[in-house]
């Protein structure tokens, strides 16, 4: 689960990492009030779960309440990489003398948390990593060794950080970042930039924070941070029905069991010359209830012209899926042509059930490839 900047900063602050004071606003008036309360110059920052806010005009300086209101009006409603701005973070403006970069990531490859630190922080960190790899210090942490002070020293000395006062502050922040990472079951914590003010104070000016979904049961206060409205409405509807659905831009609706098989189905549709309208994984279920839910979500997309139902029975039994399809077709009126491919556990029985009922718009095909071609044809 990805957190907004302001949520990540809230967690940072909870673990003792210094951040600027700020307020959340969802309207221009709230933004003005926040600026009033904070006093002085403030930054109005779009809260979106994507990068590139700055370039998109999502971050603006404001002097006083009226200016903050004006800037908020400009930012609210902006579309930043498909994310519409509905929330703003108004925080006291910071003067920036230096910009560093500090992150701690769950490195799946090494199977260890990985610290990365460089004094060349700011926007183009990937460029630093590519062009000046020595400037970016990487250090894995063994989960049993845990955080040890030397790791912080390796980061600061490795990056050539010379100022003793900065060293001291950053050593502390590094330790607290590890505590935050482990303490929240994070998959990623990133501070970019980690700034030094002209007065020499080090603090986190931004936050990227991703928490392991599987561990949210241990962190109810973080689970509550989930912003359901940030998810596209059709995906939200699907999630409420326990169906994994992602909208795409084509005309062949896809329904399958298992993420790998569904992805493969999208690919096969593309190879057959069609465009998938969505990714939709039934998971282990295949009963009427699940099929109805999924079909409802898929057919709500007006672009959908045909539906490809691709199931490989394992735990899921094809006869059950066949009955589910028929029951679904009884309960809801679907005019779309539906192409079905069933294989695996009880596939013959499933095909027999469909053949017996044989609704007009149902086309059973023997192989995944044949079915894909047919679905593409029918969508044309």
């Amino acid at each position: 689960m990805d957190l907004y900047e302001y949520q990540g900063k809230e967690l940072f602050a909870r673990f003792g990492i210094p951040v600027s004071e700020g307020r959340l606003a969802t309207t221009a008036d709230e933004a003005a009030a926040a600026a009033e309360e904070l006093g002085g110059e403030v930054v109005v920052k779009a809260q979106v779960l994507t990068g590139g806010r700055g370039k998109a005009g999502g971050i603006k300086l404001a002097e006083g309440a009226d200016d903050a209101r004006a800037k908020a009006e400009q930012i609210l409603g902006l579309d930043i990489r498909g994310h519409v701005v509905r929330k703003l973070w108004i925080e006291r403006a910071s003067e920036i003398a230096k910009e560093y970069y500090l992150s701690l990531t769950f490195d799946r490859g090494a199977k260890k948390p990985l610290f990365m630190f460089t004094t060349q922080g700011g926007i183009d960190i990937e460029e630093v990593a590519e062009k000046h790899p020595d400037a970016l210090v990487r250090l894995h942490v063994d989960p049993f060794e845990g955080f040890q002070p030397w790791q912080g020293r390796r980061l600061i000395y490795g990056a050539g950080l010379a100022d003793p006062d900065e060293q001291k502050q950053i050593l502390t922040i590094v330790g607290k970042l590890y505590a935050a990472f482990v303490g929240t079951d994070a998959m990623l914590t990133e501070i970019n930039p980690l700034i030094v003010t002209p007065e020499g104070e080090v603090k986190a000016l931004d936050s990227k924070f991703t928490v392991d979904d599987a561990a949210l049961f241990r962190h109810p206060e973080i689970a509550e941070m989930r912003d359901l409205e940030a998810v596209p409405p059709e995906e939200r509807a699907a999630r409420e029905k326990d169906v994994t659905y992602v909208k795409l831009d084509g005309e062949v609706g896809i329904l399958g069991n298992g993420a790998g098989l569904v992805m493969s189905t999208l690919d096969v549709i593309a190879l057959a010359g069609g465009k998938p309208a969505n990714f939709c994984d039934l998971g282990g279920g295949g009963d009427a209830e699940g099929v109805v839910d999924a079909l409802e979500v898929i057919t709500a997309d007006p672009q959908v012209r045909s539906i490809f139902f691709n199931v490989f029975g394992g735990i899921t039994r094809c006869d059950e899926v066949a009955r589910g399809i028929l029951a679904a077709l009884e309960r809801m009126s679907i005019s779309h042509p539906i192409v079905v491919r069933l294989d695996g556990t009880n596939a013959e029985e499933g095909r027999r059930i469909l053949a017996e009922a044989s609704p007009d718009n149902l086309h059973v095909e023997p192989t995944m490839l044949d079915a894909a071609r047919r679905a593409v044809e029918l969508a044309a």
Partner: protein, 292 residues
């Protein structure tokens, strides 16, 4: 031979008395797997259709000679179950349970791996060695016996490919579902290494998908360390690009994680990549034919 599970497997099912554990435990036994015990704390002394249930894995090892465990316990208790198995002398641990927190699996992995124990999963369909043993939820009837090793991050997609192979008369030495969790107990490389060493395996099919860089690493391993032919399939060419937060992920792997990038990495290491499950099976048939 085969790998991970075979005729020497003496399986204990942790969580045998739960609905999933019972269903698959019995199904594995029906297939011919030597299911010697179940473990459910507090239910020691009971049995599940003749399979004795113990309170602890230690008893399953001592009294029933279990050497492999299949874990179905709920996510919150799964790490405990793995620790118990490993500390009780179990040598092969297969974890079906999904939604185990990544940090918890990280500690489990770090604890288990240096002991030389085989850990497969979590969040995986298990391991099947056709004709010998099935430990997990893989529908064995789809697969035939043969010389093709199959390793995959995906469940149903694996069945699809196994099915396509069987349609062409080709069978498998072992099918290993490594799961798609952030900390898989066995990686592609771990399994490829075993297939390379397994005299019964002549050919390997690797089924990957988008995300991470395990396929890229496997490509190098295949180039540098494998003499047996390997063919790959990657799912997700048409998948929407994943949203990833921050820059750290991309910096770490140096890979975009897309199917195209993986395909290119594999081909650069001399590994052919099939475009559909059907094509994969046909390519295997061609290659096996070529070699025969």
């Amino acid at each position: 031979m085969a790998i991970i599970v075979d005729n020497d497997t003496r399986l204990v099912v942790q969580g045998l008395t739960g609905s999933e554990g019972r269903f698959h435990g019995l199904r594995n036994r029906s297939y011919g797997t030597n299911v010697v015990a179940g473990v459910t704390p507090g239910k020691g002394g009971q049995d599940v259709e003749g399979i004795p249930v113990f309170d602890t894995v230690a008893e399953a090892v001592e009294r029933a000679g279990a050497n492999t465990t299949l874990i179905f316990v709920p996510a919150r208790f799964a790490a405990d179950a793995v620790y118990e198995a490993v500390d009780s002398g179990i040598g092969t641990v297969i974890v079906i349970t999904e939604h185990i927190p990544a940090h918890e699996m990280l500690r489990v992995y770090t604890y288990v791996r240096p002991k030389g124990i085989t850990l497969v999963g979590p969040n995986c369909p298990g391991v099947l060695s056709p004709g010998k043993a099935n430990a997990g939820i893989i529908p064995a009837e789809v697969f035939a016996e043969g010389a093709i090793g199959l390793v995959s991050r995906s469940g149903t997609l694996t069945y699809q490919i196994g099915y396509e192979l069987a349609q062409l008369g080709l069978g498998n030495s072992s099918i290993v579902g490594i799961g798609g969790d952030p900390v898989p107990g066995s990686s592609f490389i771990d399994v490829l290494e075993r297939f390379q060493a397994d005299p019964e395996t002549e050919f390997v099919v690797m089924v990957g998908e988008i995300g991470g860089d395990e396929e890229e690493k496997a490509a190098e391993f295949i180039r540098d360390r494998m003499t047996k032919p390997v063919l790959a399939y990657i799912a997700g060419f048409t998948a929407p690009p994943g949203k990833t937060m921050g820059h750290a992920g991309a910096i770490i792997s140096g890979s975009s994680g897309t199917a195209q990038a993986k395909k290119e990495a594999l081909e650069a290491c001399g590994v052919r990549v099939g475009t559909t499950p059907t094509e994969v099976a046909e390519l295997v048939a061609d290659t096996v034919g070529t070699r025969a």
